[in-house]
């Protein structure tokens, strides 16, 4: 006995759906989504994958996928379904991830995500329901709208020279080497529907067998948006749309790829992340460092002077001293020569914001930075200036000013690049917040270029001595 009936991968009743009708979809009469949903649910039944399937719904009429499919469901931001699907699949490589999207979602706002997921060969299945119109928002022109097709936003029909041409996603995606299987089918006659059913099953089977990225474009109908009755809409689909969007298999490399696109994940271990970022590879102080007051530091200068690194060293000294620490950079697009600054907070208490608007310590290594930030320093704050570079003097009555020819000292040590560390030494001496030995040990742990450690230590001590002993 053969029974054709509602697949069990649908909920028995659509309880999540609002309103009184809990057994019908929210789709208009004759909508193609219903057919596609049914075929996906049937394939999920037959492949036995419901328990491990995650259905990613798009924005569009099919936004409510989670009303219907009795599996894992996530509704993605507009166009981002393949990105969300990537995350789910990478984190759970044994899940079966379906990215179900319409033409506005996949081929307009989500074009980038679509292409890059395909280009990475994500082991996911994308069902692209193309009905050549924005259905949910009221029948506006979509990227796949046909030339001459009248929509709410193309009342005289789509014009090539004004609106461009309907975009052919299956063709585009088939050019990407990592895409495994790309086919375009249609919800037209029974014969077409049966072909679509086969393509849907194949695309899901590919994923079950880890054959990589599968993309099935399903030409569908929008009787409401097209202002046609359902049988006429199916005729228009077959007579008109298939001319512009030819049906067929555009690519099928999946056959040779069994298990090739399985990306296993190792369990998440925080220590691995620390090791990756080289954080925590120093021994912390036994007791937290005591601060007279929290340090709100601003470091500013030219890009390339090591300003951001200086801030990082400072934050790492604080971290090693069991203080709360934050570091946040601000810089232009230039890798060298632009202006750069960073803000560092060190505190015994938790830090509310990493931003420093009113520093109590300011380190400036060029003239524009002094002009930009001097006024922000709190009364009685400390300001350290590279006197070999900065010409003007700050307000000595209001601020504790320390002038140090840091770059010149650094040059004597061996390279002007360690001027930032000279400043670090000067800063330690000026604030008295940290022991020199402690800072030295920290530098030994965090300086990445091991052959430059000694030069950095020399620079540190020179800066410290300059402030403590006047050179």
């Amino acid at each position: 006995m053969k029974v054709f009936e509602k697949p069990t991968s649908f909920y028995p009743r659509f309880e999540r759906k609002g309103g009184p009708h809990k057994e019908t979809t929210h789709y208009c009469p004759g909508c193609g989504h219903g057919n596609v949903h049914k075929m996906i649910a049937e394939a999920m039944d037959d492949l036995g994958i419901r328990e491990r399937t995650v259905f990613v719904s798009p924005v569009g009429c099919s936004v409510f996928g989670y009303y219907y499919f009795d599996c894992g469901n996530i509704q993605a931001a507009h166009g981002r379904a393949p990105a969300v699907a990537t995350g789910i699949k990478r984190a759970n490589p044994d899940s079966i991830v379906i990215s179900y999207q319409g033409d506005g979602d996949l081929a307009a706002i989500g074009t980038a995500e679509t292409l890059h997921a395909a280009n990475r060969g994500e082991n996911i299945t994308v069902f692209f329901v193309n009905n050549a119109i924005y259905g949910m928002t009221g029948g506006q022109m979509a990227p796949t709208t046909m030339i001459g097709q009248k929509t709410a936003t193309t009342p005289r029909g789509r014009i090539e020279t004004e609106h461009g041409n309907p975009i052919r996603m299956a063709e585009i995606i088939s050019t990407l080497p990592a895409a495994g299987y790309v086919e375009r089918v249609a919800i037209g006659t029974s014969k077409h529907i049966m072909k679509a059913r086969k393509a849907i099953r194949k695309a899901l089977t590919n994923q079950v067998e880890n054959r990589g990225y599968s993309f099935v474009e399903i030409l569908s109908v929008c009787p409401t948006g097209w202002k046609m009755d359902s049988p006429d809409a199916r005729d228009w689909l077959l007579n008109e749309m298939t001319q512009v969007f030819p049906l067929g298999v555009y690519k099928d490399d999946a056959g040779e790829r069994e298990n090739e696109w399985y990306r296993p994940v190792e369990p998440f271990v925080p220590e691995k992340v620390d090791a990756y970022f080289s954080a925590g590879n120093f021994e912390e102080a036994d007791e937290p460092i005591k601060l007279d007051k929290s340090l709100q530091c601003k470091f500013a200068g030219f890009g390339g002077q090591g300003i951001l690194t200086l801030g990082l060293f400072m934050a790492q000294v604080g971290m090693r001293g069991k203080l709360h620490a934050s570091w946040i950079p601000s810089y232009g697009p230039e890798m060298r020569g632009g202006t750069a600054n960073c803000s560092v907070n060190l505190s015994e208490a938790r830090i509310g914001t990493p931003l420093v608007d009113r520093p109590n310590v300011l380190v400036v290594m060029n003239q524009p930075s002094l002009e930009a930030f001097e006024k922000d320093v709190v009364d009685g704050g400390t300001i350290l200036i590279d006197s070999g570079i900065v010409e003007s003097k700050p307000d000595g009555d209001r601020l504790n000013c320390i002038l140090i020819p840091a770059t010149k000292i650094a040059d004597e040590v061996g390279t002007p690049k360690v001027a930032n560390v000279v400043m670090l030494g000067a800063l330690c001496a000026a604030t008295g917040a940290f022991e020199l030995d402690f800072v030295e040990e920290t530098l030994r742990a965090v300086v990445k270029k091991r052959n430059l450690v000694d030069m950095n230590i020399t620079a540190l001590k020179r800066g410290y001595d300059f402030v403590r002993n006047g050179g």
Binding site: V3, E23, S230
Partner: protein
């Protein structure tokens, strides 16, 4: 499977309350054994109904129907 069922004819069950009257099942039926009702259902659609005989159980109406549960086809 019982002797009776084996010999029984295929049939279509259409839930008139779930049908939205899109007529796609009528369009695809090779035997023209589905028709549209004169009466309105609770959702104000004219639902399709099975004429009651000559169904071959091909299932094409099931796949043409966009509603998950409106049509059930049994081929004993």
């Amino acid at each position: 499977m019982s002797e009776t069922l084996q010999k029984a004819d295929p049939f279509i069950e259409i839930d008139g309350e779930l049908c939205k009257g899109c007529k796609l099942c009528i369009d695809v039926c090779p035997k023209t054994v589905i028709s549209i009702s004169d009466k309105l259902n609770g959702s104000s659609y004219h639902p399709a109904y099975y004429l009651g005989h000559d169904c071959t159980g091909c299932g094409l109406c099931f796949y043409a129907c966009p509603e998950p549960a409106a049509i059930r086809v049994v081929k004993p």
